[in-house]
């Protein structure tokens, strides 16, 4: 690019000089041609105006008149009786008048080369002087033969000189004409030469202009090509970024699930008998794990913020309740450090506002955590006030170590930490402030910071939270409802896997709702359609990946129905954590989205939030802690989920579900093998997906992971890989069953046919 510019710059200068030179020469040539033309015009004009050519005629006329006068005189002399004096007079007058035409300055100039001119003229004038005595205006003597005879002698003497002059003038004029012709020819040649030169110059000019145009065109083309390649590169970068976001979201989901298991296991481990040393190790491990989880959540938030896919909900929420929660959680930490935490709410701050409670809480937690982290004595105050433009200002003031200007300048940058000492690095990811500010901006607000080294800091979140009326049913009632809603809901569940269906049935039963179960999208559509209009379903739980008709199509078909069926709330169920799946589901007309494994709290929230006739708002509840009913120190099982499910369903029901799942394992694997041997990729993927969801719901981590691998590799036509995976699946199935059995998870389950392993 730079090289091209330099080249173009050095080339343009001489080219411009050339252009100006050519134009200059062209102008000179045109002037020269104009001069030549003007000369030619003057030459011709002068020749015509002064009648130089006529001089020869005038001389010959004079000669003729001389002869005619002599004749007339001769006639008069020969026959005086019949002679006409008037005729002689007329001829004489005409002769005299002709003399004036050859005897003047210009004629003298033209005839300068003729030696005979002056004497001949003198001779003519001498004759006139002599004749005027007889024929002049005032004759001294009467016309008579005697008077004419001497005149005739003198006139006769004029014969030869006049004839010579006539011839001389003619020759002279021939020479003048020849000269003039030569001059004209020269000028014509000059004109032609100049014209040719002009044409050549014009051609050169045209060539230069053409070259200039071609250069311009080439430059334009190269710029266009550059723009195209830049645009392609941008698209590539955007696609890569999207892929990265999807990968991050997916990965953090995949990491989080086993992570919860690990945390659960550690909780269980803590309850067992440990030596003091072991207890310290375990504490450290737990702390590290929690920190890791926080980082993971931050990264997920960042990736979603970056891809612009994080969306902020706007719902009516109880601000006082949120502040109480924040207070409750933070007060314990503050007391641990011996700090005073005060929450100061101005009396005019509304209780009910429209906002996204999760995100507001996230921001406040982050700011308060930072304040706690960097304050070692004194107090931390969260003040809530009305700010400018109807905003609400949340001001967090601490008496901590504060920041210098340089630190403040870098405050909201990624991975920035107030304290750069390595020992401090473990205390936070450095993403928290950036996320908080991005979230605040996403909500239309902002975060500002003010600080003084050694005196503490003030962080102010300013958010445009509109005040709202309280929801129709107060949140207290919802809390009172405990595990369920005010009334039982009629729930349609579309789920292809039997175990998942059984699991969901158990969950719904526990929540006090009535479920109707179908195995695919067609079933769901038919079930919705066949309901009497006065008794429609209150909500549909829709698995997204089902054979025959998937959840997206089914949702769209239902939405196309007339009310009330077309208006039934639909909540998507899927094992995907992809944002794109979420968006596709929303586009298909589904309101909610629940990620598998769908635990009781999530399902209860979803039913509360989206179910027809349910309360507007789901009561917030911290995620259920890992159950501590059984212990299984193995990675085959996801003990967090196991505990969760057992708590939800009671142990016997879980044992029953698990038992039935293991009973069908051979048929399941056989069906998968058949799909592989028939190279039916879609079938393989759908079955693997279904297995993944079911096993994840039951907490069979290893089985779920293998099913996921199968699902992902389904479109690849390498059946050898598939066979290997299936072998491994069978093995893990068996290991998991043994594990569950030994952990007592299958206690109380009796196979219907009492098939004991051989």
């Amino acid at each position: 690019m730079n090289a091209a510019d330099v080249h173009a710059g050095s080339g343009a200068q001489p080219r411009r000089v050339w252009l100006f030179a050519v134009i200059g020469v062209l102008v000179l040539v045109v002037l020269a041609v104009a001069y030549v033309q003007w000369r030619q015009y003057k030459l011709l004009d002068t020749a015509a105006h002064f009648q130089n050519d006529a001089l020869g005629w005038s001389f010959s006329q004079l000669e003729t008149e001389q002869l005619r006068l002599h004749n007339e005189m001769q006639r008069f002399v020969t026959d005086p009786q019949h002679a006409d004096a008037d005729k002689v007079q007329l001829r004489y007058d005409i002769f005299v008048s002709r003399v004036g035409l050859v005897d003047h300055e210009r004629a003298a100039e033209v005839m300068r080369g003729q030696v005979a001119y002056q004497p001949a003229m003198a001779q003519v004038h001498a004759f006139i002087q002599q004749a005027d005595a007889v024929l002049g205006p005032k004759p001294a003597q009467a016309l008579s033969v005697a008077a004419l005879l001497p005149l005739m002698t003198t006139l006769q003497a004029l014969n030869l000189p006049l004839h010579d002059l006539s011839l001389g003038a003619s020759h002279l004029l021939y020479e003048r004409a020849t000269e003039r012709n030569a001059a004209v020819r020269l000028q014509s040649q000059l004109g032609v030469g100049l014209t040719v030169f002009q044409v050549v110059l014009l051609l050169v000019l045209a060539f230069i202009v053409l070259r200039q145009l071609r250069t311009l065109t080439q430059r334009r083309l190269s710029l266009e090509a550059l723009a195209d390649s830049l645009s392609a590169a941008r698209h590539g970068a955007e696609a890569a970024n999207r892929a990265k976001s999807a990968f991050l979201a997916n990965m953090s989901h995949e990491i989080r699930t086993p992570f919860h298991g690990m945390l659960g296991m550690m909780s269980l481990l803590q309850d067992s008998r440990l030596s003091p040393k072991q207890a310290v190790y375990l504490d450290t491990a737990r702390e590290s794990a929690h920190h890791l989880l926080a980082i993971l959540n931050d990264i997920l938030d960042i990736s979603q913020l970056e891809s612009g896919k994080l969306q902020v909900a706007s719902q009516v929420m109880d601000l006082m309740q949120l502040l109480n929660q924040v207070d409750a959680l933070m007060r314990a930490q503050a007391m641990d450090k011996g700090l005073l935490l005060r929450i100061d709410v101005a009396p005019d701050v509304p209780r009910w506002v429209r906002a996204d409670p999760t995100r507001v809480r996230q921001i406040l937690f982050n700011l308060l955590s930072n304040a706690l982290k960097f304050t070692h004595a004194g107090e931390i105050v969260l003040a809530v006030r009305h700010g400018a433009d109807g905003r609400l200002d949340f001001k967090v003031t601490d008496t901590g170590i504060g920041m210098d200007d340089a630190t403040q300048a870098r405050l909201f940058q990624r991975f920035m930490q107030g304290d750069e000492r390595p020992s401090r690095r473990a205390a936070g990811t450095g993403l928290g402030l950036q996320i908080s500010r991005d979230l605040a901006r996403l909500m239309g607000g902002d975060i500002t910071a003010r600080s003084e080294l050694g005196k503490g800091s003030v962080f102010t979140v300013s958010l445009p939270l509109a005040s709202a009326g309280p929801p129709a049913q107060s949140a207290d009632d919802a809390d009172d409802a405990g595990a369920g809603t005010a009334r039982p809901l009629r729930v349609l569940v579309a789920e292809d896997h039997a175990v998942n269906r059984a699991y969901l049935e158990a969950v719904l039963e526990k929540l006090g709702h009535r479920g109707v179960f179908v195995g695919d999208g067609h079933g769901a559509v038919l079930a919705v359609q066949s309901q009497p209009p006065d008794e429609p379903f209150d909500i549909v739980l829709m698995d997204l990946h089902m054979p025959d008709m998937d959840g997206f199509t089914a949702a769209r078909t239902i939405r196309a129905m007339p009310a009330p069926h077309g208006r039934v709330p639909i909540v998507a169920l899927t094992a995907d954590a992809f944002q794109t799946s979420r968006e596709l589901a929303r586009e298909a007309g589904m309101e909610g989205f629940v990620t598998k494994p769908a635990h009781l709290p999530q399902l209860r929230d979803a039913l509360l939030r989206y179910g027809r006739g349910a309360t507007m708002m789901a009561p917030e509840e911290p995620p259920a802690a890992a159950a501590a009913s059984t212990a299984s120190p193995t990675s085959l099982l996801d003990m967090a989920t196991v505990g969760d499910v057992m708590q939800t369903l009671t142990q016997p029901k879980y044992a029953k579900l698990l038992g039935r799942f293991f009973e069908q394992r051979q048929e399941t694997v056989a069906a998968l093998r058949q799909a592989v041997s028939e190279a039916s990729h879609a079938d393989l993927r759908s079955r693997a997906h279904s297995l993944k969801g079911a096993s994840a719901s039951l907490g069979l981590r290893a089985v779920s992971a293998l099913a996921q691998q199968l699902q992902v590799s389904a479109p690849e036509p390498r059946s050898a890989d598939h066979a290997r995976l299936l072998d491994r699946l069978e093995e893990v199935f068996e290991l998991s069953r043994v594990e569950c059995q030994s952990a007592g998870l299958l206690d109380g389950f009796t196979p219907p046919e009492a098939l004991a392993p051989a």
């Binding site: 004009d45 015509a48 105006h49 002064f50 009648q51 050519d53 006529a54 006329q61 003729t64 008149e65 007329l90 004489y92 007058d93 005409i94 005299v96 008048s97 002709r98 004036g100 035409l101 003047h104 300055e105 210009r106 205006p137």
Partner: protein, 176 residues
């Protein structure tokens, strides 16, 4: 008003005077007076009003009855511009009823002849002059008549063709 020949107090006198005026204006067109002095210009050929055996002959007095014009112009024959006075060829042709003729051949005393289209003579305001710097022109000064064009006012006339049509010592026009 009263002293004008056409103005009078009584209606019949007005009518008679009007008739007389009209007759006076038309008289030269209808019939030319016969020349009383020496004939200086003789027009022959395609013409309708004659006064001398199928020709229209003019003496100086007769020429003076036509509208008089004068202009100054440079010519190839004199270094200085000179004033010419005379009658326009247009008026002369009207007077003899020869406007429809195509060509006029000018003949000089020395038998110089030049043919010229009459419409060009009319268009270019060609004049037959008899006064040169307000003086009559004797034959020895290329008089008594000359066809002259306004060369000064019309540069396009400054050509050999038009100079050749400026005929000195004019004595006759033959209309064809």
């Amino acid at each position: 008003m009263d002293n004008t020949p056409c103005g009078a107090r009584r209606p019949w006198l007005i009518a008679a005077a009007a008739f007389a005026c009209a007759a006076l204006l038309h008289m030269p067109a209808l019939a030319l007076d016969a020349p009383k002095g020496p004939v200086v210009l003789s027009i022959t050929g395609a013409l309708t009003h004659t006064n001398d055996n199928g020709a229209a002959s003019f003496d100086m007095a007769l020429l003076a009855t036509l509208p008089q014009h004068s202009f100054s112009t440079k010519t190839p024959w004199f270094p200085q511009p000179h004033k010419f006075t005379g009658v326009l060829v247009r008026d002369l042709l009207d007077a003899v009823g020869g406007s429809k003729a195509g060509t006029a051949r000018a003949v000089a005393l020395n038998d110089y002849r030049a043919d010229m289209p009459t419409d060009e003579l009319i268009k270019n305001d060609a004049m037959i002059a008899y006064l040169f710097d307000d003086r009559p022109m004797p034959v020895r000064e290329k008089g008594p008549l000359v066809i002259i064009f306004p060369f000064n006012d019309r540069p396009e006339l400054r050509t050999a063709v038009h100079y050749s049509r400026a005929v000195w010592q004019l004595k006759g026009l033959e209309l064809r």
